[in-house]
Amino acid sequence: MSDFSKEQQLFRDIVSRFLKEVSPPEAVRELMVTEDGYDVSVWKRLCDEAGLAGTHIPEEFGGAGFGPIELGIVTEEMGRTLYCGPFFASAVMAGSALLLGGSDATKASLLPQIAAGSLIAALVLDDVDDLGRLGHSVSVDAGGTLSGGAGLVVDAHIADVLIVVARGENGLELVSVAPDADGVGVTPVEVVDPTRKLSRVDFDGASCEKIGSLDDAAVEALWNHLSVALAHEMIGGAQHMLDSTVEYTKVRFQFGRPIGSFQALKHRCADLLMDLELARALTHHAARCLDSGEGEPYAASMAKAAAADAYVEAVKAGVQLRGGIGFTWEDDTHLWFKRAKGSEVFLGPPHVHRERMMTMIDKEGVDDIQRGEGGLVA
């Protein structure tokens, strides 16, 4: 396994420093109770100063021209700090959909604005449990009239444009429509995780612009790219949760000793680290697979399933190992707890990804598995 290059590490350092500065827990707390849920000036800095919104967008479309590995670095660091803003919705989700299914003209017109952050796009998917079922609730007719709705759309409430995946006459189409156009309704949804805002989006005869299409392969690719970006976000969050929990166990005293010296807590943390190490390895591997076009076709699903399980275990322990304070609103742990619970199921719960993986194995077989011995003979 090749590790990150020097440049990639440097990139991570820069992103990490920036996010720690602009997204401390106090900022997350302030933003999560606002309607918009993000700070426009920070978003501007993130796009102008750090140029992050175009991380994975090719240079010809105004981006930095990096790939899934660098995008993963950004979302991993964002997950660590719970950055609140339209990055995932606009750059990752809408950006990836346009890259995979947009017409050349649309890419040329929309991607530079998304990369610059001057245009916030939201991707309307009518199934965020199983992207293999997309198009059952939103459709577009030959004349470009949209109907139907999607219940859980990230950041639609602040979007300048909605990029919609809709069932058309010849399969899935990509269309765009303004959120304030006639026949479009955007209603905020009450959410468990207030750091990721969701809306219900309804179309009632809205006229839209057809901007591309998604064949089966493009849908699978879209699902892979989004899952891998989200898996990174989750391992970043899980790492923060493990770090902060371990720190807490070193300073909290009961029975005359730090609680971190109790073996039950130690062993739970050791297990969390092991789960996280495996999930991290799978996630970074999945990004390299997307980058190179090689590796198991199910690498992204392995990453999403493993990262979700590791994150949820980490936040559960995060609360438990803090005792009463862990269950308070005042303590920050619940911010990560809620993000973990949301991310666990968003874009497919672990069991859906495991089934997706098995379906691929049914068709294409499993990669070579060495007959292991546990490495030892003594």
């Binding site: 010296s261 493993a306 098995m358 598995i369 292991g372």
Partner: protein, 414 residues
């Protein structure tokens, strides 16, 4: 030297020296003289100072040509690596050679009835008399001791200092009157490990490694090699092909004897390789619950392989320590083996009540189910790995210790 040059140099040397009609001993002597027995060893000790990668290239050429390699796998590798790392010049000169030629096989004599996880609690007694160490005590769970010519052994030489400071590390000749080896039968029916009794067993003064009282340091060096998975089984496959030559018979006999205790080792790791084929064959692959468990297993297995490769890369770059990475890997191997055992049980269903030739895959599936429990004990239990991970990787505080002060005064098993 780049890979191409290595290939050429080895190839030329084999052209001139390799013959399958020699005896195994004769060939191994030539191999040692030629410096190709262990090219990753230093030049003073039979090697060429190659990196492990370069040594791999050499091994590949040997295999392609069907040229028999030096004897390096198994517990003897634990001995040779430890002697290389901690031994003196005289010990390296005397012990490495017969290991590489295959003359001497080795075993690890660490655990005792009274101290396993707490390895620093050994109470085998070693006393210096007339320039020789006299050993008395008992070791246990010693894999391959019934074949071994020598053992690496940890014993107490000072009872009046704290436990970690009073041990010394010995190289003991197993073929002597004072050493008795009794095989032990395991829950899976195999007899791989033994108990070993020392009654006035003798170790020459010059066979103490790393200095008196430094046994703990030397033992942890051995353990770090063990956890890094240096102790592969012998792989005798792929050399003979359809080539003629008497040497192959001797080599295969050597491999077979060395591997005899380890035939069930792949099973204790859970045989992840058999899961998908078995699920297909039995139709269990259609069961949605089993599919979930298989997918979980494959994720863990792949994740662990990737994580270990990543840790190894970092270790090479000098950015991580050996032991913690090894502990995470060892713990993962246990978790994977247990999950594999569970999946094999689900796939087989009631059929997994069968054993022996009645059981699927000619008994292999049954053997998995009753061998997996070993992996979380051997080489340091899961609980010990979790202690190491939490204390050394996560930096969590150590618990209360009841074993400080002179060893003599510590409570221990009677």
């Amino acid at each position: 030297m780049n890979d191409e040059t290595i290939r050429e140099t080895v190839g030329r040397w084999l052209d001139e020296n390799w013959s399958p009609d020699r005896s195994l001993r004769e060939w191994r002597e030539i191999l040692l003289e030629g410096g190709w027995a262990a090219p990753h060893y230093p030049e003073e000790y039979f090697g060429r100072g190659f990196t492990n990668e370069q040594a791999k290239v050499v091994a590949e050429v040997f295999k392609e040509r069907g040229a028999v390699p030096a004897a390096q796998a198994g517990p003897r590798r634990l001995a040779s690596e430890t002697i290389l790392a901690c031994g003196n010049d005289d010990q390296k000169q005397r012990f490495l050679r017969p290991i590489l030629t295959g003359e001497h096989s080795w075993c690890q004599l660490f655990s005792e009835p009274g101290s396993g996880s707490d390895l620093a609690g050994v109470s085998t007694r070693a006393e210096l008399e007339n320039g020789q160490w006299i050993l008395n005590g008992q070791k246990v769970w010693n894999t391959s001791a019934h074949h071994a010519d020598f053992g690496i052994l940890l014993a107490r030489t000072d009872w009046d200092v704290p436990k970690h400071q009073g041990m010394s590390y010995f190289l003991i000749d197993m073929r002597q009157e004072g050493v008795e080896v009794r095989p032990l039968r395991q829950m899976n029916g195999h007899q791989s490990f033994n108990e070993v009794f020392m009654t006035n067993a003798v170790v020459p003064a010059e066979d103490l490694v790393g200095g008196e009282g430094n046994g703990w340091h030397v033992a942890t060096t051995t353990l770090s090699f063990e956890r890094r998975g240096f102790v592969d089984r012998f792989s005798g496959e792929g050399y003979r092909g359809d080539r003629p030559g008497r040497i192959y018979d001797e080599y295969e006999a050597e491999v077979e004897e060395a591997n005899e205790p380890y035939t069930w080792y792949p099973q204790r790791a859970g045989r992840v390789d058999l899961v998908v084929p078995r699920a297909r064959e039995t139709g269990a692959i259609k069961d949605p619950v089993i599919r979930q468990e298989i997918a979980r297993l494959l994720c863990m297995h792949r994740g662990s392989t990737l994580a270990l490769a990543g840790a190894e890369a970092k270790r090479k770059a000098g950015t991580t320590q050996i032991i913690p990475a090894g502990s995470i890997g060892k713990l993962a191997a246990s978790v994977i083996a247990r999950q594999a055992s569970k999946v094999h049980t689900m796939i087989g269903g009631a059929d997994t009540m069968r054993s022996g030739s009645q059981s699927a895959e000619d008994g292999v599936i049954a053997e998995i189910l009753i061998s997996v429990p070993a992996i979380s004990i051997a080489g340091g239990t899961d609980e010990i790995q979790r202690n190491i991970i939490s204390e050394r990787v996560l930096g969590m505080p150590k618990g209360h210790r009841a074993d400080k002060g002179p060893f003599r005064e510590i409570k221990r098993n009677s």
